[in-house]
Amino acid sequence: MSVKRDSFSLSFAVGAYGTAFGAASVTAHFSVLQTCLLSLLTFSGASQFAVIGVVGAGGSALSAIATASLLGTRNALYGVRMAPILKVRGLKRVVAAQVTIDESTAIATAQSDEADQVTGFWHTGFGVFVFWNIFTLLGALGAKAIGNPSAWGLDAAVPAAFIGLVWPRLVDTKTRLIAGAAIALSLALVPFTPAGVPIITTALLAIIVGWRA
């Protein structure tokens, strides 16, 4: 019972944030239709914000797709983790793949009972999907009435949301140093490279550090 309640509250909280995505996407010159399609089809918050961030900053479609896809690679790892728990094939596996995100994996892996793991995955996956898409549409429509996004602080809300997502992972000195290096490297590259490149390049830091120890 509590797994369903946890799934619902997480789904609603995360879904409501879709408002910020909808508004930010329209602000970055994506249409309402394109904004809603990103939430329906891409359905991965970090990747969606990366796409509109790179394109909005004047980057190419290729660097937007590459940055978003690098951010989406962890969903592949979540799939690896969830597959043996869900044991689904065919169309059900296609649906499971689409709702494999941070939240559904987090709720599922927090359960000790195997039935609860399956319940948590599906309830959170569908819950976030429904709320995220409803709120994306509301945010996209609302943005037209908002006017200048800076006047409402929307341009700070997006990086703040990312800090909120990364913060719990900065648990030890090594991780904090790598995060600091990522800031320094990306900002150092900004004046000399096309938009998107400064972010993708920091993946090298992860490869170098992860390779050695």
Partner: protein
């Protein structure tokens, strides 16, 4: 086709492909501890870099403006372990106030 459409279609196709590959990969392939460590670090560096670029740059220049006020509020909220929506809303309010004061 506009850059936005290419980005929407390309990102969506790759996003689903990545998710589906994960559900189809034999888990022993990813058991290598080196691969596991790199994959754990990748979202951290990418998201941190994205924050930095979104917060203090405009096109190809470093620009410190009202957004820093929003981020300061967000980081303060994180220190006090406030919930996610409060962090986002607080950043928006802080940034908007700074903007109205001309920063």
């Amino acid at each position: 086709m506009s850059i936005q459409w290419i980005a929407v279609i390309g990102t969506s196709a790759l996003a689903f492909t990545l998710k589906f590959i994960g559900h189809s990969v034999p888990s022993k392939w990813l058991a290598n501890p080196r691969i596991t460590r790199i994959n754990a670090l990748i979202p951290i560096v990418l998201l941190t870099a994205l924050v930095a670029v979104n917060a203090v740059t405009a096109r190809t220049k470093i620009v410190i403006d009202h957004r820093m006020a929003g981020l300061a509020v967000a980081i303060t909220a994180l220190f006090f372990k406030l919930p996610f929506p409060v962090i986002v809303l607080g950043a928006a309010v802080g940034s908007a106030i700074a903007y109205h004061f001309g920063y």
